[in-house]
């Protein structure tokens, strides 16, 4: 059965490109427009991996990760950040919040798929 990935990004074109790339590799993709939407969708449906942006309206990626990690169903679910942010300081914050990895935009579809496969198979 295909694994499900929750892609959270306030840029619709970015979400489309992530979904296009991951669907082509055989994954199911659920899209969310910001952290709050991502949290709502994660509560509605179990996902195998969360791929989230950092800077978004209403709720940012770090806040989303902290809240997800507080939910029993998401205590160990892999969460990757996909963001333009590239500073060590932000990466450390992501790690402390519970992220499992940090991908700096722009992403290359092939490399994204390789990382996702490595993390969830």
């Amino acid at each position: 059965m295909a694994k499900t990935i929750l892609a959270v990004d306030d840029s619709s074109s970015l979400r489309q490109m992530v979904a296009f790339s991951l669907k082509a590799a055989g994954y199911n993709v659920i899209e969310a427009v910001d952290g709050q939407d991502g949290l709502d969708k994660a509560r509605q449906q179990a996902v195998d991996l969360v791929l989230t942006d950092q800077n978004m309206p209403r709720m940012d990626g770090l806040q989303l990760i902290k809240l997800l990690r507080g939910l029993p169903d998401y205590a160990k679910t892999p969460i990757l950040m996909l963001t333009t942010e590239s500073s060590d300081e932000m990466k450390q914050k992501g790690r402390a919040a519970g992220a499992n990895g940090w991908l700096v935009k722009p992403f290359d579809p092939q490399r994204l798929i390789e990382v996702v496969k490595k993390v969830i198979g």
Partner: protein
């Protein structure tokens, strides 16, 4: 210090503060706009290359299909090329997807520039509003007091503006970014 000197010192502080504040923000606007221009230029160049390459691959594939449809037998070389074309097209599509992400980066840079411009307009508005309160017949004590107030208001506004302007895009090119698993 004499009243005249106090007044002069307040005016000097206000003018140099406004000048430094305005200059600093305009320099950042210039930097962000130049970065945006670079990213846009590179995106257009890369996307043009990708689309031309995809078009050429599709045309070549169509020629092979036409040959097969007309009953011709493709050579071993044609067959190998046909097999390799899917990979080639995928590579060009991947490259186009990476380049298309310019929109995400440039929109963040433009958003930051807009916030800065709005902040500068508010800053100048505060300066104007305090200036309107000054009457030609105002005494120097009153002017000193008003200048002190406007300097304080501008300092607060400057700090508030700085707090919403953290730079989140430092990319100068559209090469795919680093990946780090924790």
């Amino acid at each position: 210090m004499t009243r005249k000197k106090i007044l002069g010192s307040h005016v000097k502080r206000l003018l140099s503060g406004v000048s430094a504040h305005g200059g600093r923000h305009l320099t950042e606007v210039e930097t962000d706009l130049l970065q945006t221009e670079r990213l846009l230029l590179e995106a257009v160049e890369r996307l043009t290359t990708s689309f031309m390459a995809i078009h050429q691959s599709v045309e070549a594939r169509q020629r092979s299909i036409d040959l097969l449809l007309s009953g011709g037998t493709p050579s071993a070389e044609d067959s190998a090329r046909l097999t390799a074309m899917s990979g080639e097209v995928q590579q060009h599509v991947n490259s186009a997807i990476t380049s298309m992400q310019f929109q995400d980066m440039t929109s963040q840079l433009i958003d930051r520039t807009l916030k800065r411009v709005t902040g500068l307009r508010d800053f100048l508005g505060t300066l104007g509003a305090h200036g309107d309160d000054l009457m030609p017949e105002s005494g120097s004590d009153e002017i000193v007091e008003r200048l002190g107030k406007v300097s304080m208001a501008l300092a607060v506004q400057s700090l508030e503006l700085r707090s919403v302007l953290r730079k989140s895009v430092n990319q100068q090119h559209l090469d795919s970014g680093d990946i780090e698993l924790f």
